[in-house]
């Protein structure tokens, strides 16, 4: 749709000139090869774009994108914005947000005097629409320039009215001329918001930020102080989102967005980048990378994330992808007023990290092993105990004594004051109802009585006894051993079988087809289940037995 909408005004230009169109009446068409100004294109877009109803008093809003001491990186990152995208803003595709007429040096249709004409109209108040200034780059002190050649300029004007001689107009002058009537002034990028690299130590041009230039008391025509979207380069999404909500406010379609004391969008810059960093868990456990390329926390390599207001780990660099620590680089604090001097040398560990990294190392050194124990135990189902029905498990070591002790106490605490542990009777009831497994007996007894106890539980519930098969030993070994439960069967009864299509299968996940012996006629709960007609799913998911009672086994192992 944007394609189509953007081409409409271009086509329409040929046959239907707009009322009061200036580009056709201006004799010199050299600076306007398209034959239409950005304003005319936008007018045509609004007229023919099929948006009869636009909420709010504003149909369109003009944006003057001024570029001072900048690297154009802010323009580039705004270009990469996705939510909302620049195209959506330019085509008025978002409800409640007026169509944006953009005067940007790189995308403008006009050049030369045609380009600066709208600037002059805006300064006089003849633009016919409110306008917003977006400023990129820092502002130099133009009083320091040699022979009146500005540090940074945009366009040129006659020295005086009607003069043949021209002077290049400093970007700072455009700001000074346009700011009083602007509906809002938005600084994009760290240079414009705080001064950035041009204003760092050395600073031969006496650069400053837009706030410094306009002063503390500056208010736009709509009463807004300077809005700051910092970053070097800023996230495109941060910028377009701020523009969108600001335009919603100007168009009386939304509340005044929340800004912090430095004029940053508070909802974007309140959190530190560390809080959402994918490596923050490593920091907390005291695991630090000693060289680039790892996945651990980068604080030892110079990451300033814990003290930096930035949301790149949340929003990603472009389209919710990438971003500094996500991509493996440490934070150099590029969104901060202190950038770059207060964060350099960039490769040196921040002084604050001496304390905090030491503390997380200290706590991590005992939290980490404890967590690994709990994690290991939570990687086991209730039925497995210490025997894992996975062929891969043979490769892994068993639990250590410390593990058992820790887990014993962990479980005590975990079930303390919970329903399951209220009384032995309550436990028995809930177990009989099948809603929970019985809490384990103390570890020492458990390991001794595990088999008989599980058999007892199975009998009590009337479940089919389960026999676990696992490939033991190395790959060459064909020995099969039974699991925790069963009698040892003759090996022939446990031949490895591959599931056949259509055949009822005990277990599909592995290569080994597990069979379950049924000890005796079903009774109790299991019997009720067996009588219930079942369709489709022939397994009872999550049921300890694995198999649906009543679905015949093709072959049943002997034994009970």
């Amino acid at each position: 749709m944007p394609d189509q909408m953007l081409t409409v005004p271009m086509m329409a230009r040929l046959d239907r000139p707009i009322e009061g169109e200036t580009s056709r009446t201006m004799p010199d068409q050299m600076g306007n090869v398209a034959g239409a100004t950005m304003d005319e294109l936008a007018d045509r877009l609004i007229e023919t774009g099929g948006r009869a109803f636009m909420p709010g008093p504003l149909k369109k809003i003009v944006v003057f994108w001024l570029s001072g001491m900048s690297c154009d990186g802010c323009s580039i990152s705004a270009l990469g914005a996705t939510e909302p995208s620049v195209e959506e803003l330019l085509t008025g595709a978002l409800p409640g947000i007026p169509t944006v007429v953009l005067h940007h040096y790189a995308t403008a249709m006009e050049s030369g005097d045609h380009f600066t004409r709208s600037f002059e109209l805006a300064e006089r108040g003849d633009l016919g629409a409110p306008y917003v200034i977006v400023y990129e780059g820092s502002i130099p002190d133009e009083n320091l320039t040699v022979e009146g050649e500005p540090w940074s300029a945009e366009g040129s004007l006659p020295l005086w009215v009607g003069s043949e001689e021209r002077r290049r107009v400093p970007t700072a002058e455009w700001v000074a001329r346009l700011a009083p009537r602007a509906a809002a002034v938005i600084a994009i990028g760290t240079c414009a918001t705080w001064g950035g690299i041009p204003a760092s130590y050395g600073n031969p041009t006496a650069s400053m930020s837009l706030m410094d230039f306009l002063g503390k008391d500056y208010r736009s025509a709509f009463g807004l102080p300077v809005i700051n979207v910092p970053g070097c380069a800023p996230l495109g999404d941060n910028f377009t989102e701020t523009v969108a909500v600001t335009l919603l406010f100007l168009n009386k379609q939304g509340p005044l967005p929340e800004f912090d004391e430095l004029g940053r969008p508070a909802w974007l810059f309140a959190d530190t980048v560390h809080r959402h960093c994918p490596r923050a868990g490593y920091y907390e456990e005291g695991t630090f990378a000693q060289e680039f390329g790892g996945k651990e926390c980068l604080v030892e390599l110079g990451c300033w994330g814990p003290v930096v207001n930035c949301n790149i780990t949340e929003r990603g660099a472009v389209g919710h992808m990438g971003g500094c620590m996500v991509a493996g680089g440490s934070c150099i604090g590029c969104t901060m007023p202190g950038f770059p001097d207060k964060f350099s040398p960039f490769y040196k560990r921040p002084p604050g990290a001496e304390v905090s990294a030491f503390t997380s190392r200290l706590t991590g050194s005992f939290i980490k092993p404890l967590r690994r124990i709990s994690q290991r135990e939570r990687n086991r189902t209730n039925l497995w105990r210490d025997k894992i029905p996975s062929g891969w498990a043979a490769e892994l070591g068993g639990p250590t004594l410390t593990h058992r002790v820790m887990e014993y106490f962990y479980e005590k605490v975990q079930y303390a004051a919970s329903e399951a542990s209220r009384s032995p009777e309550a436990r028995r009831r809930s177990t009989a109802a099948g809603t929970s497994l019985p809490p384990r007996p103390p570890t020492a007894r458990r390991t001794r009585t595990c088999r008989t106890r599980r058999a007892a539980v199975a009998r009590e519930r009337g479940l089919p006894r389960r026999r676990e098969l696992a490939l033991g030993g190395g790959a060459s070994s064909a020995r099969l051993r039974t699991g925790a439960l069963g009698n040892v069967l003759p090996e022939s009864a446990h031949r490895v079988r591959f599931p056949r299509p259509g055949a009822p299968q005990g277990r599909i996940g592995g290569r080994v087809q597990l069979r379950h012996a049924r000890a005796r006629p079903l009774a109790g709960r299991g019997a009720a289940q067996a009588q219930r007609p079942r369709q489709g799913d022939e397994r009872r998911p999550g049921h300890p037995g694995g198999r649906v009672a009543g679905v015949p086994c093709r072959r049943r192992p002997q034994g009970r």
Binding site: D72, S152, I197, Y201, Y347
Partner: protein
């Protein structure tokens, strides 16, 4: 014209003659001054801010300069990574220049 360069020419299209051509840099930030007295490794970060379109090449050039000054060389995999990164940077900034900055 991409970048901060102003260009003014008077051309006689019929005669195919250029009467006058002037170009002037419309931006000076003094990166050379700003880079003085810093940790050499910071140059890679600072100089990449010279240009937001082609920042990567400035970083790479800085790292090359540092290597020359210190007489060091990256490991082979580091070299490969740097070249891949540089190639990706070309893939970003050439279309950017062609379609956005150098249009019309």
């Amino acid at each position: 014209m991409g970048g901060s360069l102003a260009f003014h020419a008077v051309v006689d299209l019929k005669a195919g003659k250029v009467h006058e051509a002037n170009s002037v840099a419309s931006l000076f930030r003094g990166y050379e001054v700003i880079l003085k007295g810093r940790d050499p490794r910071d140059a890679m970060f600072i100089s990449s801010r010279v240009c937001g379109v082609c920042g990567g090449v400035h970083s790479v050039t800085s790292s090359l300069a540092i290597e020359m000054a210190f007489g060091i060389a990256p490991p082979p995999m580091g070299l490969a990574l740097r070249n891949i990164q540089l190639a990706l940077d070309f893939m970003l900034d050439n279309p950017l220049h062609l379609y956005i900055l150098a249009r019309a």
